[in-house]
């Protein structure tokens, strides 16, 4: 006998069955009299839409009029089934976004908002709903670990905060700590991956050399620096963000910082858009913007003879409007031929690392056909470039992994723009 609860497409609550029935002398008890209630094929759930809209920052979710411009430009949709229009409809037809896997796939890359005629702002909506989900305890485990690491160690990698400046020992060029130097024209906010990740450190060493060559008066915070926490904020951990921000702001105040140089576009975003609300009064510049104007002072003489394609970081480009500086840098390196990928500048494809995606590879693998970073690497390979140039610390490791997993090892190198600069300066 079939288990009535497992009959295809019949929800248990629709099964009507009388325990004891005798009709015309015949016992038709139990499953012999089973009937199914007429099913509502699906219903609309305005209350679930309103639940999202009611969260502070969630209101514009209700603006969607289903034009669907967002779906084709959604980087997650290209490798999965996603996009604001689709999420809206799923919620309108019964999905609770607060507990749905749809909540965690958005990388906050902002390409949907760029094209949205109704200004449905996923950059506000997703973090706001995620914040509630975190309070309800429905956060993916790997993300929870990162939140805990950040809270305990001040970085998502779980590395020792004391060793935050350990990389500087590998540097031939001096990298002074503010704790010792006390005063500098420029604070270099190194951020986590450039401090701890081996490939991030490579870029930091290159940048240290360049800053010294330019005789920039700079210092770093080292162990006194904590994660800018922008991606954790966008992943919903607002409390953690504020804690880290307060700490960093205290340090900035201690050293009377007026100008900050950042390696990480996510830090740029936090410092420009969030820290001022918390009392931050300082100027922030991304290293590509800073260096692009001084390329002629770097004495680059070595012809590199490489074809380079450039990946715009979402948080440098779309979020903060800087598209030209990295390109100008590349253009001034001798022997670099720049070729663009189809998706570039305003329509650049997301590497998958933003909004918490950096730490959700395991979770995402259940929902996408391939990683976003793999999709992007295939686009880079298609250009015939030798080098995929990057300027966001999330990208070197993501893309190098993706080069390997897509079988393109040896065909495409992933390098930070400053690594190419240093190569041309004579290694």
């Amino acid at each position: 006998m079939k288990d009535p609860t497992k009959v295809a497409n019949v929800e248990p609550e629709r099964i009507v069955e009388k325990e004891h029935v005798v009709q015309d002398g015949m016992d038709i008890s139990g499953h012999w009299n089973r009937m199914f209630e007429q099913r509502t094929i699906f219903d609309y759930t305005p209350e679930l839409l309103e639940k999202v809209r009611a969260v502070d920052g969630g209101d514009s979710f209700g603006y969607c009029y289903q034009c669907a411009q967002c779906v084709p430009v959604c980087p997650v949709h290209l490798v999965g089934d996603y996009g604001p229009r689709r999420i809206y409809r799923r919620v309108q037809t019964g999905e609770d976004l607060f507990t749905s896997p749809d909540l965690w796939q958005c990388t906050t890359c902002m390409n949907c908002l760029r094209v949205c005629p109704k200004e449905v702002d996923m950059i506000q909506i997703m973090p706001a709903v995620r914040e509630r989900a975190i309070l309800d305890g429905t956060v993916p485990a790997e993300l929870q670990t990162v939140f805990e690491n950040t809270a305990e160690y001040g970085n998502p990698l779980g590395e020792s905060p004391k060793k935050r400046a350990a990389w500087t020992k590998k540097s031939d060029a001096p990298v002074p700590l503010m704790k010792e130097k006390k005063k500098a024209d420029l604070l270099w906010f190194v951020e986590c991956y450039p401090s701890y990740h081996p490939r991030g450190i490579d870029a930091s060493l290159a940048l240290a050399r360049i800053l010294n060559h330019l005789e920039v008066d700079f210092g770093i915070l080292g162990p006194e620096e904590k994660c800018s926490c922008d991606s954790q904020r966008l992943a919903g951990e607002v409390g953690l963000f504020e804690e880290c921000a307060e700490h960093n702001l205290k340090m900035f105040k201690r050293y009377k910082v007026r100008k900050v140089l950042v390696t990480d576009p996510h830090a740029l975003n936090a410092f420009r858009k969030e820290y001022p609300d918390l009392g931050g009064k300082f100027e922030t510049v991304h290293y590509t913007t800073f260096l692009a104007e001084r390329m002629d002072e770097l004495g680059m003489t070595k012809e590199l003879g490489v074809k380079v394609t450039f990946h715009d970081p979402c948080y440098l480009g779309r979020h903060n409007g800087e598209y030209d500086a990295p390109r100008n840098m590349l253009a001034s390196i001798p022997g670099v031929e720049l070729v663009e990928m189809g998706r570039c500048r305003e329509n650049s494809y997301c590497c998958g690392g933003g909004g918490g995606g950096m730490w959700l590879d395991g979770f995402m693998s259940d929902h996408v056909e391939m990683r976003l970073s793999e999709q992007r690497v295939l686009e880079a390979v298609e250009t015939g470039a030798d080098v995929l140039a990057v300027c966001c610390p999330y990208e070197v490791s993501r893309f190098e992994d993706a080069v390997k997993s897509t079988g393109n090892e040896g065909k495409l190198a992933v390098k930070d723009v400053v690594e190419l600069v240093v190569e041309s300066m004579g290694g």
Binding site: T40, I41, F42, L49, R53, Q66, R89, T93
Partner: protein, 352 residues
């Protein structure tokens, strides 16, 4: 030749505006209205608020009527119809009949402002059960409820918890014969959805549509607010049938953006019925020899560059007599018709 008055047939918004314009420029108008009051469909059908600005429909029509009532240049003949016409541009003779008498009047030009009638959802199709289910109503029925500020299910007098609009009923339909878009129903439904939410805040409101046609400012003035401020749910895909379910209704169709069938319970279904030429429009077209298009609206002859000229010289048409029109269109074309009718009268005087 003396300067003859201009005949305006129809005392709705377009007719009143045409007469006002004629009088203001110092010419004579004779307004013939079949009903015993001025105001046309907005008045007679009991509209609540105008689209898109939510102005009180009754007040607005009163204001328009007041602008011509008592004007020495305007003769208003209520409860009257035109039954015959002869002559030509500059010098027509028309027979105007009321309940008791008929008299012949000489006029120099004619403006037909005879408007439209609402599509009757029982005329060609029973698919939505308008005559079977009390709780299936039309935009016009709902307009009257909103006018009374009493939104209840006709079947049991309770406030509905779920109400939907089904768009394009009687419009954009080759089989029904109305292939055109009726132009106003999307805006009216969006306007009414807001009024429903204001009157019954706990009532969930849905609009099932093929595509929302919100011309110009209607988009931002009514469509967007209905969704963004009043949480009205728009679902692409109009329903195909309405069935009885318990003491409510079951609306069945396809949700096209989801690509799946839908079957949703409703307490009330509002059919967004479109426009058809009114009986008056059809009759006047025959009497004045104006060609009608395949839908029986009065045909205009010079396309986009002249929206009021008919095939009969000296006879002009405006408002919804020439096709689906909103109030803004009707007022604008009425002014254009007044101008051209005056020009006809002036030419006749000059030629004599």
């Amino acid at each position: 030749m003396p300067e003859l008055p201009i005949l305006v047939v129809g005392g709705g918004p377009a007719g009143m505006e045409a007469a006002r314009g004629i009088a203001e420029l110092g010419y004579q108008a004779v307004v013939v209205e079949k009903q015993s009051v001025l105001g046309g469909t907005p008045e007679l059908a009991g509209y609540a608020a105008l689209t898109p600005d939510f102005a009180d429909a009754g007040e607005a029509m009163k204001k328009m009527a007041a602008a011509i009532e008592g004007d020495p240049n305007v003769e208003i003949r209520l409860g009257s119809t035109v039954t015959a016409a002869s002559g030509s541009a500059g010098d027509f003779e028309v027979t105007i009949k009321n309940r008791d008498t008929a008299d012949k009047v000489r006029v120099g030009a004619v403006i037909l402002a005879t408007g439209f009638q609402h599509f009757d959802p029982g005329r060609e199709t029973q698919q939505y059960g308008y005559y079977e289910f009390d709780d299936v109503i039309t935009l016009v029925d709902l307009e009257q409820m909103l006018h009374r500020k009493e939104l209840v299910r006709p079947s049991n007098g309770e406030v509905p918890k779920r109400l939907c609009f089904i768009q394009c009923v009687g419009s954009r339909d080759r089989q029904i014969g109305n292939e055109y878009c009726s132009k106003v129903c999307c805006g009216v439904a969006a306007k009414q959805s807001i009024e429903v939410r204001q009157l019954a805040p706990d009532c969930r409101v849905f609009v099932f549509y093929i595509d929302m046609r919100m011309y110009g400012y209607w988009e931002n003035e009514i469509y967007w607010p209905s969704q963004e401020e009043y949480n009205v749910n728009y679902v692409k895909g109009i329903a195909t049938e309405v069935l009885k379910k318990g003491d409510g209704l079951l609306v069945r169709g396809e949700d096209t953006t989801m690509g799946r069938p839908m079957e949703v319970p409703m307490d009330m279904v509002v059919l967004s019925v479109g426009m058809e030429p009114s009986a008056g429009t059809r009759e006047m077209a025959k009497i004045f020899g104006c060609a009608q298009n395949k839908y029986d609206f009065i045909e205009t002859t010079e396309g986009a560059l002249n929206t009021v000229a008919t095939t009969a010289d000296g006879v002009f048409a405006c408002g919804a007599a020439t096709g689906p029109a909103d109030l803004e269109d009707s007022i604008s074309s009425a002014a254009a018709a007044a101008m051209k009718a005056i020009a006809t009268v002036r030419r006749a005087v000059a030629a004599s």
